[in-house]
Symmetry: C2
């Protein structure tokens, strides 16, 4: 850590701040202290705030041939998808970047400008960040995005743990095949379902019991709703999915839809009496689980009932 290394270390932080400052005219009035101070100050709609952080790492979340613009887009969009899952309203983002040597100043500028652009496009302007250049020449690109959101003004915050016995499970769109053979695919280009989340909450109000964005696979993410709701209510639940009803992206098998992940469609548990809104597809129901049964998610495929609890990225 000599002086010159330290210089490289921080020089891009000025850029990220300058970029955001250059777009200051476009920053909404609720950003009371814009980028450039030790912290940003944000005026919220209420005294409650939603917050999450999510990162993308080269070789993990994108391949070497991915355009930087789409790397930035993915990092921002997957955070916005978390906001959708809570039926929140995006407010602002911060970006923490560790740059590889190979990227160069031009690449760094391109990446940060893309983060700024997509953050603005998704309604959560970039208001701060930190950048560093890897000391190790092999150090890969890491881009971590923090997102702030406001809960809905009607006070509805949709968690994973509110599902009930009898609920219907619905999804906001087709699943599977997010990651193409060449590393591209809709894991880079998906649209976070913020508008759909609010339409659903507007329509169902308290009948919208639980929601999650499908990031790791329909099997795993359904299990998360089931497990969180079981823990919260003390009532053992199980999801029963109908394989033939699961909407699949063109050319994808239902098994891919169950396990691929990174679709970033929404999965919701809604009241048994609620109508399935237009644009959503009912794929199953929640039943009581027998105490000796450890499976959280079963899927009916033709004549057999298969365990889908662990279908996804983690297993």
């Amino acid at each position: 850590m000599t002086g010159s290394e330290r210089m490289n270390d921080r020089v891009n932080e000025r850029e990220i701040l300058a970029l955001a400052a250059a777009a200051n005219g476009a920053l909404p009035k609720n950003i009371l202290i814009p980028p450039g101070d030790d912290m940003a100050l944000v005026q919220l709609a209420s005294s409650q705030v939603l917050i999450a952080v999510d990162q993308v790492v080269a070789g993990r979340h994108f391949t070497a041939n991915t355009p930087l613009d789409l790397v930035a887009r993915k990092a921002v969009a997957r955070n916005v998808s978390d906001v959708a899952a809570m039926a929140g309203n995006p407010v602002a983002t911060l970006a923490s970047v560790t740059l590889p040597h190979s990227l160069g100043a031009q690449g760094a500028r391109e990446l940060l400008e893309s983060v700024r652009k997509y953050a603005a496009e998704f309604g959560c302007p970039l208001i701060g960040g930190d950048t560093s250049v890897h000391h190790d020449p092999a150090g890969p690109l890491t881009l971590s995005v923090t997102i702030l959101a406001s809960p809905r003004t009607d006070g509805i915050v949709v968690t994973r743990h509110g599902a009930k016995i009898g609920d219907r499970l619905i999804v906001s769109g087709p699943l599977g095949g997010s990651f193409a053979d060449d590393g591209l695919g809709h894991h880079l280009t998906f649209t976070p379902r913020v508008a759909q989340a609010h339409e659903l909450a507007d329509k169902l109000k308290q009948g919208l019991h639980a929601m999650i964005d499908i990031s790791d696979g329909l099997g795993l993410d359904t299990a998360r709703i089931i497990d969180a709701s079981t823990k919260h209510s003390g009532v053992a639940m199980q999801a029963r999915l109908r394989g033939s009803d699961i909407p699949c992206n063109r050319g994808n098998l239902m098994r891919h839809a169950l396990s691929d992940g990174e679709d970033h469609e929404l999965l919701a548990a809604i009241d048994a009496q609620a109508e399935v809104p237009s644009g959503w597809t009912a794929i199953g129901t929640i039943t009581q689980r027998h105490t000796e049964d450890q499976r959280s998610v079963l899927v009916q495929i033709a004549d057999s009932l298969e365990d889908a609890t662990n279908l996804g990225w983690l297993h």
Copy 2:
């Protein structure tokens, strides 16, 4: 990105959430939705929130011989120091970690447990995070921490841009030598000056015009107050520091105090009429700058007046 790699990719996220959840009994009541959902929900003291992100990268911010516990401490503490600089109150943190292969599961657990411990100790419990393991075997440890804070209840938020002609410049403690030859030193063990910031704001109220934490060197960080205040007020300012008054850490020369950085003491600009509170040291004043003079910070050293504008990590 095969299935098994994807598994490694996310498995530690469960750990970070489990760790934070295990300490749930210790989480304050204002964490309305604790770790485990798509986002955390936080009840704030008001509808304004301060937010910043800051990272530490192996080889940049710490050396290979640094204990993981101190890596975690530094990542949390430098964020808390940003809160101090705004005279804010720490509320919560999120951590985004990219782990090297070499760390192993035990090392990862140790790091995350340390983040949780220090975040709790500094009053900003860990409420979320994201973890990933580098695909590249040489990928170094990166730890990015986001911090949420509340402004003071009296509405005073201390920025960098509020300094005025005639203000006195004061520092909260001795400077220099933060980075020892062996890579250790007080850049790993400093105490963020949150209490001192509030004592100062309590005493001076609107007489506390501007503040910054000294992260990149007294020269550079003084210039940041001067430049931000010049830009904000339209009045060209210049800092005049008295070299002999700058408090130095034992064994360090004044020149180190001016340029080393990572001291994380506070530098404040206070009203000319205000008394210098106990524990703080007056080191200079703010004067009007002649339009032809480009220097933001001058320091009187013996008989000469030297330019300290660029003394620090960036130059």
